[in-house]
């Protein structure tokens, strides 16, 4: 931005607003992480203070490690998230390519139909989904979760990606056709690399709700072998007694993988969100 378009008071004002928002957004996360390193008494006595030599306690983490099979839960969460993400991106991008590239009867209707899922929460269909999974013998499998999450993520993916795919130059695709590339190679080799920022955006928006979801693991796959991290953490929340150390430790640990994946995607994500707005 040029110097003429910025002024010091405006810059300070803008940063103040953004910093306030960041503080509000990060505060709960910070409280969770800080308290996960404190003893039970310290958590209740002064929930906002940092752990001191007296109050520092790793009891939460040792409990989490000792009780239940947390590594398995982590592994389940990762498998479900990564597999769903893969299918959402693959099928979402393919549907978006078809909608943006080919003229066929009902193209617009198909686009609207696929976008409908953005407005209607998939949880409304929980009973039917459960019946379906019971009938097909998929209850208590990770497959059940992957299928549901793929369906949940597709509408937004199709919606965002088809907008981006419309911007890919027609000439480029046609050059590929003249050089004898198949439609699949045009899609995978020419178009997908050009919409990578949009893919990263979709990946982040799809990934976080899946990782954090408690609803479907609880209903479709509550068995010990298929528990996800968020469901695993519920072990420590009882009706009468809650092991806060363990809950906080489990949640702190659950943040890590998403954080890593986010750093992995973030540069592309920012480009995806700001493209069009800045250029």
């Amino acid at each position: 931005m040029s110097k003429a378009a910025t002024s010091l008071p405006r810059t300070i004002g803008a940063h103040a607003v953004l910093l306030t928002y960041t503080a509000i957004a990060l505060f709960p996360v910070l409280v969770i992480v800080v308290n996960s390193f404190k003893s039970r008494n310290a958590i209740f006595r002064s929930p906002l203070s940092l752990p001191t030599a007296e109050t520092f306690d790793l009891i939460g983490y040792t409990t989490v490690m000792a009780q239940g099979d947390f590594f398995l839960y982590f592994q389940n969460s990762l498998i479900v998230t990564v597999a769903s993400l893969f299918f959402v991106l693959l099928f979402g991008a393919m549907a978006a390519f078809a909608l943006s590239e080919y003229r066929f009867k009902g193209n617009t209707m198909m686009g609207l139909y696929l976008a409908l899922g953005i407005m209607i929460p998939i949880r409304l269909g929980t009973v039917a989904i459960l019946q379906l999974m019971v009938a097909s013998g998929l209850v208590n499998t990770l497959t059940a979760l992957i299928l549901v999450y793929t369906a949940q993520g597709l509408p937004l993916a199709v919606f965002i990606l088809s907008e981006f795919m419309k911007q890919v130059s027609d000439d480029l695709k046609n050059a590929g056709r003249i050089d004898g590339l198949s439609e699949y190679r045009i899609f995978f080799r020419l178009v997908l690399p050009l919409v990578r920022p949009a893919m990263a955006t979709v990946a982040v928006f799809t990934m976080i709700p899946i990782w954090n979801d408690l609803w479907f693991p609880l209903i479709l796959a509550p068995s010990e072998a298929t528990k996800t991290v968020t469901l695993g953490a519920q072990v420590f929340i009882g009706q009468f007694v809650t092991n806060w150390n363990a809950v906080l430790a489990a949640l702190s640990l659950a943040i890590l993988p998403v954080l890593i994946l986010y750093f992995f995607f973030s540069r592309q994500l920012i480009r995806g969100i700001t493209s069009g707005a800045v250029k």
């Binding site: 000439d171 050059a175 590929g176 056709r177 050089d179 004898g180 590339l181």
Partner: protein, 332 residues
Amino acid sequence: MGSLKIENVKKSFGPVEVLKGIDLDVKDGEFVVFVGPSGCGKSTLLRIIAGLEDASAGNVLIDGARVTNAPPSKRGIAMVFQTYALYPHLTVRDNMALGLKQAGTPADEIDKRITASSSMLSLEPYLKRRPAELSGGQRQRVAIGRALVREPKLFLFDEPLSNLDAALRVNTRLEIAQLHNRLKATMVYVTHDQVEAMTLADRIVVLNAGRIEQVGAPMELYNKPANLFVAGFIGSPKMNFVDGARLGETAKTVGVRPEHIAVSQTEGAWKGTVIHAEHLGADTNVFLETEKAGLITIRLFGEYQTGPGATLYATPDAARTYRFGEDGKVLG
């Protein structure tokens, strides 16, 4: 080499009819330019020839073979696009090689062809670069090189110069003309710029609203336009059209080119006042509001001192005046 025959090709997008029955023969080795205003269907016609778009009716024959249902890669064509359309992730060399690799050409043959065409277009220093590291003119040369290595029966150009700046446009135009002289290949070229059409074409096809208005050599179109549209479209500045009734003629419209009008300060057919004069050095364009013929444009060669408010007499060259009937067709 290749000839091209188009038989009664029609194309509709939903209810909109873009091409209303096109018939055309292009001989082997000919350079044909499709020209027309935007939306006249010239690009659509080119895409139908390339196989990127299906015709609603009619046939396309390349080298005598009916290719109406053949995919683009099997038609023996190569195409150069307005936006270059180079593969961004491949080097210049791989951009040129991709089509041949897809067709299963042996590696040494690919090498030979790339060496030949890159030396012809002076692309050797850039072979290892990616398109993003090249300027617009270089990119378009690579795109032409990519077409060359395919050794096609038919070259198709879709407004290849429109994205280049004025100086580069003249250079690249010259290169394309030289390329045609050297290869003697059949080329079909689409443009909205009549200068490109006039300078490059063996034959020009003037399209308007989905129909062919006239086909002919550049000078034929200039000297013998078949109708009002072609007369107005070819030539710059545009031909002056005067209502026949105003001049006491039986024709509906009378046309005379700006360069076929003589001026004098003392006497002439149409007296008028200068509204504006454009001094371009090599020529001077004078806009004259005449009493008899309305506003006309006059093109004078060399410098001519005049300015707004001056009185001038204009006399059209009778031998080079065109008369058009009610239907817009030229009379006599």
